[in-house]
């Protein structure tokens, strides 16, 4: 009899929907159907049973091809690489469980690693801004129950966080928002008319690279000061009108994405958006939330923070202190400046996301990539260690974009003999201990 697993958490994006229902075969080996998930989320589950999945570690040969090796061989090679390297980039962590991260950090502390997650090429700039000016924020349920003014700035949940609008931000009816969509005024600020802009009541088309100026204009308008005629292509009359509209609301929220974090000024854009949010709390209630990408990138930041006090780019290379400096201990800088000797990638694909110079630098160093699938990073690695998929074939804790922790679930068995991230990292840790004890 096929079984239905309920309350399943989706290991795709930072929305971390936890209402999925997955039907699995009675031998626990095959996923038969996925309900409630978006198209991308369903794909994540169905991915496990795609033909051609690699189930054993592979080592690159001199001719560039890969040859299957045992887990023990891969673990030994990896541990030796980590112990030998003076400074190793240990990147990724955004698609694995917090429990796995903990083991990874223990290894990093012993071998002198720099632990970084994909915030480094994503919402790291948001984290810097929060370090500079704080953040007034709330959980997504607050948005659902109270928000009557919702701004999407430089983000496009219609594509990147497909169920965000229906679960939390636009359509749901909550305790104080019984009219749902009708009771909310939706704004979209973007340089393009996106699919999110289509569902907005007001679209503000901004010239690319002028977010900082436009946000400064919003703040200046909120204080009743004079503005130039247009700001980033937006007429000042529109700025004044929107600001008055926002002040008239009971509970406003700004969601922002890559349009702010990775255009000119990066953290400064977020900083100004947060400062605007803070200012609006003098008139009404206002919050701001980052649209975090990978499903557990937030979790990596949390675990690093409670263990070392920094949310990403944590440099443990001296082994007796933790340091952090975006621009120095961040992955791309380390690679481009050739400041590390080896790379250990896990649960995120730098090959697909890093600038080409960084990827080239990585490809020239001893590199191990741990990932359930073949991806662009595995192809430039010396060793690829496939593992069970977290959130599908094994469980563990994850943190949603609003930092709410939700447990992911195991719904099917991994292919026979495959290790989970926790099991693999524990074995690498043990091997590192042996090697370092022998030294």
């Amino acid at each position: 009899m096929p079984k239905v697993v309920t309350d399943v958490t989706c290991p795709f994006c930072g929305t971390l929907c936890d209402d999925l229902e997955v039907t699995v075969s009675d031998d626990n080996k095959k996923i038969l159907s996925v309900r409630n998930a978006c198209a991308i989320g369903s794909e994540k589950f169905n991915h496990t049973s795609l033909p051609g999945r690699v189930t054993r570690p592979r080592k690159r040969q001199p001719d560039g091809t890969f040859k299957e090796i045992t887990y023990d061989e891969a673990i030994d090679w990896t541990a030796n690489m980590l112990v030998k390297s003076k400074k190793t980039l240990m990147y990724g962590w955004a698609s694995t469980s917090c429990q796995a991260m903990s083991v990874g950090h223990e290894i990093a502390e012993k071998v002198g690693g720099v632990v970084d997650n994909c915030a480094t090429v994503c919402h790291g700039s948001s984290l810097i801004a929060i370090q500079d000016v704080g953040i007034p924020s709330c959980t997504l349920g607050e948005v659902k129950n109270r928000a009557d003014r919702v701004i999407f700035w430089g983000c496009n949940p219609a594509h990147a966080h497909p169920r965000h609008m229906s679960r939390y931000s636009i359509f749901p009816r909550g305790f104080f928002t019984v009219k749902g969509h009708k009771g909310r005024k939706i704004y979209c600020v973007d340089c393009r008319h996106t699919d999110t802009a289509r569902v907005a009541d007001e679209f503000i088309q901004i010239q690319q690279g002028y977010d900082y100026e436009l946000l400064d204009a919003f703040r200046t308008a909120a204080r009743g000061e004079a503005l130039p005629d247009t700001i980033g292509g937006v007429p000042k009359e529109k700025v004044y009108k929107i600001v008055e509209d926002l002040k008239a609301g009971r509970f406003g929220v700004i969601f922002f994405g890559m349009g702010l974090t990775h255009t000119l000024g990066r953290n400064h854009n977020i900083d100004e958006a947060i400062s605007f949010t803070r200012d609006m709390n003098d008139f009404t209630k206002f919050s701001i939330i980052a649209m975090r990408g990978h499903w557990n990138v937030t979790g990596s930041g949390q675990v690093l923070s409670w263990q070392y006090g920094f949310p990403y780019a944590v440099d443990l290379s001296r082994r007796n202190k933790a340091r952090y400096q975006t621009g120095e201990t961040t992955s791309v800088d380390l690679l481009v400046r050739n400041e590390v000797e080896a790379c250990f990638n896990i649960a995120t694909d730098p090959g697909a996301h890093f600038p080409i110079d960084a990827v080239v630098s990585m490809s020239k160093k001893p590199t191990v990539t741990v990932d359930p699938h073949i991806n662009m990073s595995t192809e430039i690695s010396d060793i690829h260690i496939p593992v069970a998929m977290v959130g599908v074939e094994t469980g563990g804790c994850a943190y949603r974009m609003d930092n709410v922790p939700i447990e992911t679930r195991k719904v099917v068995d991994a292919p026979d003999g495959m290790l989970t991230d926790v099991e693999l990292l524990t074995k690498i840790n043990e091997r590192v201990d042996q090697l370092m004890g022998a030294k």
Partner: protein, 570 residues
């Protein structure tokens, strides 16, 4: 397990009334035993010239969870040049005002603490709190879920449905692996979700048609209906503002007519926390003054109250509380980075860095108020030492607070060091107070008292045979007390020995063992309640952003639980 006999030390144990007498303490299988129960193989520890107390118990600190961690990561500057590792088995430690989990566990242990209560756990974030507790070495921990602004509670208590509220509290304690009922700015934090506040016990909560006084009384009744080990634990309305002592007295007086009902030996029905922040006179920062005496006159008289101080340590620190509107207010005063998180249906939290500067008169007065509270306390079993870590200062400053409490000389030196010492003296009574807390009183204020208040007095907070072998041995000799107060601070900074569950975890101030850390929580059984089951289901379907099935804290988060069972079905 190992056996130990600790010889020749001066024992301070309010549980047995031992006031510094020389007495041997025997340890076997994690418990304190009669010396006759030891075998010949027991290891000897010479504690000659040292003081022995039970492991200290932290009754109120923010050490684990979402706002603590936000405080950590949004303050990288708190770790700048302050991340280090001691050679040996410990991990990297860091953070001046908000230490990392490793530093938290080690630092408490090095000071002789074996238990810490995380003072505010948002139920929705309970998994996060427990993940951090799990990673904090050595010390036992528990966490208090916040209830004072919870929608279920507001709706039940509006209609005085104590039985339903009790069933809901029991359900939440089970779901979150929580310890008891925490209340923060009752009603005010819900009001804050609309940018408002409740500044007195009679301000109505917007929409919910209930007052803070009704919430507090309802939760006292709930607590005693269930018979929980701890009483309600309250941070009252109008924290941190001049003239708030009247609101504090109004809050304290709500205990009148209630009696503790429980099987844990607990006597109080209310624990008032970080009272320093609630004992302010004047009506602006210019005529701000101490009302510690007024507060303590009432506390000394009313036996149904326990309290902790919330001592200001005069450091740069990071304030953090579920009192969202207060942090907004504070951010507006000092213009340092303000963080806030409103949590659906439950609570909120705010974080703002703060510098308690000895050059600022108000900070000096706050410093004095915290000390005055302890010095006015007639019953050290009901007044405990805290810094409301990290709000009034980091807990790592306990040795310094102890120095000030035990030495008038040290207090006078600090008063003299204030830039405006005459103004501080004029607004407080500290300069006229001669009392010096004794080691015996200190043992009550940091061990036996907190243990009894938390309902753990049977096994913790004392050195009686049968009790848990959590023991701190300090390099301080009561027969030859140091004339230099700095020596007191030094003695309490690093224990000679710390036994946790009968195991030596710290020796000569150095951590040597990660111990056997446990998570304490309270498992309450109540009669099946269809109404509450229905309400829970409905609220998750309609208003929460997570499924009910994903709300509980899995057992794997607390692999070494210490579960206190409460049967409230009778």
């Amino acid at each position: 397990m190992s056996e130990y006999i600790i010889r020749n030390g001066h024992v301070f144990d309010p549980v047995q009334g031992i006031k510094g007498d020389k007495k041997d303490i025997a340890v076997k299988d994690g418990k304190i035993v009669e010396t006759s129960a030891l075998s010949a193989s027991a290891k000897q520890i010479d504690a000659k010239g040292k003081s022995i107390m039970a492991g200290a118990m932290e009754v109120h600190a923010h050490v684990a969870g979402p706002k603590v961690n936000l405080g950590r990561w949004y303050r990288p500057e708190d770790k700048l040049f302050d991340s280090h590792k001691t050679p040996g088995m410990t991990r990297i430690e860091g953070g001046k005002s908000i230490p990392t989990v490793f530093k938290t566990g080690y630092s408490y242990a090095r000071m002789g603490y074996t238990f810490a209560m995380e003072a505010a756990m948002p139920p929705l974030y309970a998994r996060h709190v427990h993940e951090e507790i799990h990673d904090t070495p050595i010390i036992d921990e528990a966490a208090l879920p916040v209830f004072g602004n919870n929608w279920f509670m507001l709706e039940y208590l509006k209609n005085h449905e104590i039985e339903n509220n009790a069933a809901y509290v029991a359900w939440t304690l089970n779901q979150t692996k929580g310890y008891g009922i925490k209340i923060v700015n009752p009603g005010g934090t819900e009001a804050w979700a609309w940018g408002l506040n409740c500044l007195t016990v009679n301000d109505p909560v917007p929409y919910f048609e209930i007052t803070p006084a009704e919430i507090i009384k309802g939760l006292i009744e709930t607590n005693e209906y269930l018979g929980l080990p701890h009483s309600i634990h309250i941070h009252g309305n109008n924290l941190g503002n001049p003239g708030n002592y009247n609101v504090t007295l109004d809050t304290l007086k709500l205990v009148e007519g209630y009696k503790a009902k429980n099987n844990f030996g607990r006597k109080q029905v209310m624990h008032a926390t970080h009272v320093q922040f609630h004992a302010y006179g004047g009506d602006n920062w210019g005529n701000f003054e101490s009302k510690a005496k007024e507060i303590m006159d009432y506390v000394n008289m009313e036996k149904s109250i326990t309290m902790d101080t919330g001592n200001v340590t005069l450091d740069e620190t990071t304030t953090m509380t579920a009192d969202g509107p207060f942090e907004h207010h504070l951010g507006g005063l000092n213009h340092l980075k303000w963080a806030n998180v409103d949590v659906e249906l439950e609570t909120a939290a705010g974080v703002v860095p703060y510098i308690y500067s000895p050059n600022i008169t108000v900070c000096g007065i706050q410093w004095a108020i915290g000390l005055e509270l302890a010095l006015y306390a007639k019953d050290p079993m009901r007044c405990f030492i805290t810094t409301d870590h990290p709000n009034a200062g980091p807990f790592t400053r306990y040795p310094r607070v102890i120095k000030w409490l035990m030495s008038k000389k040290a207090r006078d030196a600090q008063i003299k060091a204030f830039k405006n010492s005459d103004k501080v003296v004029a607004a407080t009574n500290i300069a006229t107070m001669d009392r010096e807390i004794t080691l015996y009183e200190l043992a009550a204020m940091t061990r036996a008292g907190p243990a009894a208040s938390l309902g753990l007095g049977k096994d913790y907070g004392g050195l009686k045979p049968g009790m848990n072998a959590d023991i701190a041995i300090y390099n301080i000799n009561p027969d030859n007390m140091p004339s230099d107060p700095e020596e007191i601070e030094k003695a309490f900074s690093g224990v000679a020995y710390l036994f946790k569950d009968g195991k030596i975890c710290v020796k000569d101030g150095t951590v040597v063992d990660n111990g056997n850390k446990r998570t304490f929580w309270v498992d309450v059984k109540v009669k099946p309640n269809k109404q509450v089951a229905h309400d829970v289901k409905e609220k998750f379907l309609k208003y929460y952003s997570v499924n009910e099935g994903n709300y509980p804290v899995p057992d794997s988060f607390a692999p070494h639980p210490y579960v206190i069972a409460v049967d409230a079905t009778q």
